[in-house]
């Protein structure tokens, strides 16, 4: 059957039909999200597939008023943790891609192994630790947590990235009198701007979308990230679907923008993180 379908001339319309049908399935939940977010409660009653007849922004206003503080929180946490984990990842990646020393491979392996850690296994000590050092419910507590658990992937990504920069470049630089540090700032850093973009976006998206750490390391809105606040809209506004949808839209807007404008870098990050991992 498949054989005949593929070999028999080229039933283009069938291929396109399948691709379009799949696109429809992939976009269906998103349609529900956008459509419902612009509806009034009355509009919702007209059914989930009926397109919105006039744009209503009330749900966005309501959602935004509950999400204002969490949006600021998330922005601070995401920027802090992305900058920190990306910078540290570049430094560590530099070391493990260009210098061999006793135990370097074992140490590198042990760092990257952290990527496969199920977070449930460290939740209790993590919460306890954050309480002990008074970082529970603080920005810095979350920044530190995201940075720490980001290290395995940022180190791996940068090591793979730097591995593609020829060693000869460093050798000739060291002949020219470049030290460890100046080789990094004068040779590696200028060459790694694309790497920073890819890893930075990867981390930005991951940390922005985090739920578990936000849920366990914050209490109330003080440091609460936007994902947790959106999930809580459900509890506080029972069955007010348009507000929930609007909240979900607001919370995903930055990521959607990144995907739209920086898709190439996103794809590169996904492939870098996966294929060589």
């Amino acid at each position: 059957m498949v054989e005949r379908f593929l070999a028999f001339g080229k039933p283009r319309f069938l291929i396109y039909g399948l691709l379009i049908f799949m696109s429809f399935l992939y976009l269906l939940p998103l349609y529900g999200l956008i459509n419902t977010s612009f509806k009034t409660s009355k509009g919702i009653a007209s059914g989930p597939i009926t397109p919105v007849d006039h744009l209503y922004f009330g749900a966005y206003k309501k959602a935004f008023s509950s999400l204002k503080r969490p949006l600021i929180n998330t922005s601070i946490i995401v920027v802090g943790a992305t900058v920190l984990s990306t910078t540290l990842g570049a430094m560590t990646g530099y070391v493990f891609s260009k210098f061999k020393f006793k135990g370097s491979e074992v140490i590198f392996f042990l760092i990257v192994l952290g990527f496969y850690l199920p977070y449930q296994s460290i939740l209790i000590p993590l919460v306890r630790f954050m309480g002990t050092v008074h970082l529970f419910n603080t920005y810095f507590g979350l920044i530190l947590t995201h940075t720490a658990y980001g290290m395995p992937i940022t180190t791996l990504l940068f090591r793979n990235y730097y591995a593609s920069i020829p060693n000869e470049l460093l050798d000739s630089a060291s002949v020219d009198g470049c030290t460890f540090f100046s080789a990094f700032t004068k040779i590696m850093l200028p060459l790694s701007l694309p790497g920073f973009a890819v890893v930075g976006i990867f981390q930005f998206a991951n940390i922005w979308n985090d739920y578990l750490f936000g849920l366990t390391l914050t209490q109330g809105v003080q440091a609460q990230p936007v994902t947790v606040a959106v999930a809580n809209l459900k509890g506080t506004m029972t069955a007010v679907w348009n507000v929930q949808m609007a909240g979900a839209m607001i919370a995903s807007l930055p990521i959607i923008l990144v995907y739209i404008f920086l898709l190439k870098l996103v794809v590169k990050g996904l492939l870098m993180g996966s294929i060589k991992g």
Partner: protein, 290 residues
């Protein structure tokens, strides 16, 4: 030389320190806790393997979560891989707008699980949800399902969301893998009279092993770690019908305040994920030696 040593230490120390504490010390503490009966505001006693014995012999909730985790993993991976491969092949058949379709399939990956859970709970509503409404509108009301509200379907419903979210990623990895197959090989096969189907079956698909392993390890990790979607969509319910290890651990720890017992469930998860990593390393090593 001394400067280089200093550089290596300075540059790698922050990462080493962070990972040592947040990964290895914390896992060590969890192992320690898992041998105690620590509960909120109660004295701690060392109880040896009691928690583990209880998990595997008495605790129905745990056993159900373990089985559900395996079921969800098999369902999720078993459909994500063929779907990803199939879509990648369709895109490879010289269609116009490949990039466009690939982007659409990748869209779900951009959303946080929180946002996906909101969209899908709306889609799954039995009475007024998008899916059942569409089925009724096109005259297929017999296919309308109770989805997450039913004990027999809640786990699979969550699985569908996972597939929706990750299959575009599998498509991307396979698509890249197919594009990197040496074109001379497939051309030679076509010259030798291979049909399009034979070209894929005998030349291209056999070379997708690295892509498959990549997708396998990532999807396996995601299904072991899965917490957000289950927690937000079903809370593990109805009953224990969609309970997985990660949500059960969370309930035991943060709702019932049984920290020692919760730690032991976390350790079971670590053992499982290290098993996955071990299998992966084994495969890589075999690959290296041919």
């Amino acid at each position: 030389m001394a400067r280089r040593k200093l550089g290596i230490v300075l540059f790698s120390l922050p990462a080493i320190a962070l990972v040592s504490i947040f990964v290895y010390v914390f896992v060590g503490q969890s192992i320690n806790l898992s041998f105690t009966d620590w509960r909120f505001a109660r004295p701690i006693h060392w109880i040896g393997f009691d928690n583990y014995i209880r998990l595997f012999t008495l605790d129905r909730g745990f056993q159900t979560s373990l089985i559900n985790t395996v079921k969800l993993t098999v369902f999720f991976i078993g459909l994500t891989i063929p779907l990803g491969l199939g879509l990648a092949i369709l895109l490879d058949l010289g269609v116009k707008g490949r990039g466009f379709f690939r982007t659409i399939y990748l869209i779900p990956l951009s959303f946080s699980f929180v946002v996906s859970s909101v969209m899908w709970m709306w889609s799954f509503l039995p009475e007024s949800g998008t899916i059942n409404t569409i089925l009724r509108t096109i005259g297929l009301s017999c296919l309308a399902q109770p989805w997450i509200t039913s004990t027999s379907q809640s786990l699979w419903s969550v699985g569908i969301v996972y597939i929706w979210q990750f299959s575009g990623f599998a498509t991307l990895v396979y698509y890249t893998g197919i594009a990197s197959v040496n074109p001379e090989l497939s051309e030679a096969a076509v010259i030798d009279g291979a049909t399009t189907w034979q070209k894929y079956r005998h030349v291209i698909i056999p070379q997708q092993k690295p892509a498959t392993v990549t997708i396998l390890i990532l999807t396996l990790m995601y299904s072991l770690k899965c917490f957000d979607l289950v927690w937000l969509m079903t809370g593990g319910g109805p009953g224990y019908s969609s309970e997985v290890l990660a949500t059960y651990m969370y309930k035991v720890t943060f709702n019932q305040n049984k920290f020692g017992y919760g730690a032991s469930i976390g350790i079971v998860l670590v053992v499982l994920s290290m098993g996955v990593v071990g299998l992966f390393l084994h495969y890589m090593r075999r690959g290296e030696h041919g």
